[in-house]
Symmetry: C2
């Protein structure tokens, strides 16, 4: 964000909120769209950009709310920046639409510790010089990502994961696999007659994080506990929103999604 400029943020969940809070420490921010009034269930119907935004920032997938962009909005000439931490490499995407993509490795790429950044060269040159050196992407570009001692194990594992995705058939294949997995769990929601209530609007449903509620918090607790007994852990929703969250990142096998969907059907039969 050059000094004196304004940056636009599109908020569709908790990670966008964190991003905008950080941006406000650096300069002027305009919230171009914000779906919090509806509980972050949908993508924004309208986006109102500022006069000449330095960039427009969005979160391609919101993990806590389970809301994902499936078609990018048309934002004209404004440089588009995406936090893709939770859905990069889960599907093909047109990188040429973005001026800057950043993604922590720990969801789809490898173990925690590495972050992947894809940045257009002109943004490197436009970056501010008054930030700490390690917060300037130009530092990493100039030093071939070796300004600091890199987390070699995390980078090595990332390379192995890329090879694994290639062996599976690449991004098209992993996207099919991810669609199949999400389809199984959303299917169990949709045939439950309202027992399971999906948080996200159908058109905004995340393929990575399926979020839903049960008729009561008591049933949600019972669901999480019985799922755990059946070998399925980590199904409690984020503490800030409650409910159930099934994360279906690249590493999860289709069999696991099948097992969850079958458990959901069976739990409904017993408690519906």
């Amino acid at each position: 964000m050059p000094a004196g400029a304004t940056a636009d943020y599109i908020l569709t969940g908790a990670w966008g909120e964190k991003a905008v809070a950080e941006a406000r420490k650096i300069g002027d921010v305009h919230v171009a769209a914000d779906t919090s009034a509806g509980g972050y269930r949908d993508l924004p119907a309208t986006i109102t950009l500022s006069a000449q935004p330095a960039y427009v920032h969005l979160t391609s997938n919101e993990t806590i709310q389970g809301v994902q962009w499936h078609n990018l909005p048309d934002l004209g000439a404004a440089p588009l920046i995406a936090d893709m931490s939770s859905d990069i490499l889960s599907r093909p995407f047109d990188a040429s639409r973005f001026a800057l993509i950043y993604a922590g490795a720990q969801k789809n790429l490898g173990p925690a510790g590495a972050t992947v950044v894809i940045i257009r060269r002109d943004l490197l040159d436009r970056g501010r010089r008054d930030l700490p050196t390690i917060l300037s992407y130009a530092t990493y570009a100039k030093n071939d990502s070796l300004y600091n001692t890199p987390p070699a194990f995390a980078v090595y594992m990332l390379d192995l994961v890329l090879g694994w995705i290639g062996d599976l058939g690449g991004l098209e294949a992993i996207a099919q696999r991810n669609q199949a997995k999400a389809g199984l769990v959303y299917g169990a929601i949709d045939r439950s007659g309202g027992f399971y209530r999906g948080h996200a609007a159908p058109q905004a449903r995340s393929l990575m994080n399926v979020t839903f509620r049960l008729p009561s918090e008591e049933l949600e607790k019972q669901f999480v506990a019985e799922a755990k007994t059946a070998g399925m852990v980590g199904l409690g929703g984020h503490r800030s929103v409650g409910g159930i969250r099934a994360s279906l990142y690249n590493a999860l096998e289709e069999e696991s999604a099948q097992a969850l969907a079958a458990f959901m059907d069976e739990f409904l039969q017993r408690n519906g």
Copy 2:
């Protein structure tokens, strides 16, 4: 560094220079001592603090020059901050003398990716609020080091390394081992009749990084090449200073230091 305050820096090598350059982006800096005029060979004879420094920063071991603090200077009441990245856990030390210690893991603690910070509580409260969230130590303290997704593998390995040091007999034992290793290599320098010239003044010699020169750059190249053939890699000095550097971090076995000292004796016999 509170707004309006001055921070004092003691420079004994390249890492201190980097630290002071970062500090200048945040506030006023006073260089209290600087041994660069002598080529960073020694610890400073005099330290001239500013009137009321917010803190005094030093680098306990400078890896590139091979200069290490063995006795801390008396700095009165000023909070002392140390970059201990390259000698933490190499020897016992009195942590109560420090207000803040920070250390990248990758020398003596474990794989790259984790950083250890030991900070006095009153410094947490005094920290500036206008920095990016991830650059505030208070963020980590408040969130039990789980504000970000931690590099779990690096943290796990650090725990294993701590167990290994404990099994060896703790810090006293690792310090004896490190002294013995450094003694072997410095011994080969000292008995070479000036063929090997140690960079650091004897009282400032690092137990972690033994830096020395040979009579010519040609001989230095030959030394590095022949050492490599003999199975000893990484002996070239940092590109900014040249010469030879033998790093003897905790993980290096005493046998390796013995092998290097024997090679140095033998290389001298053939080329002295």
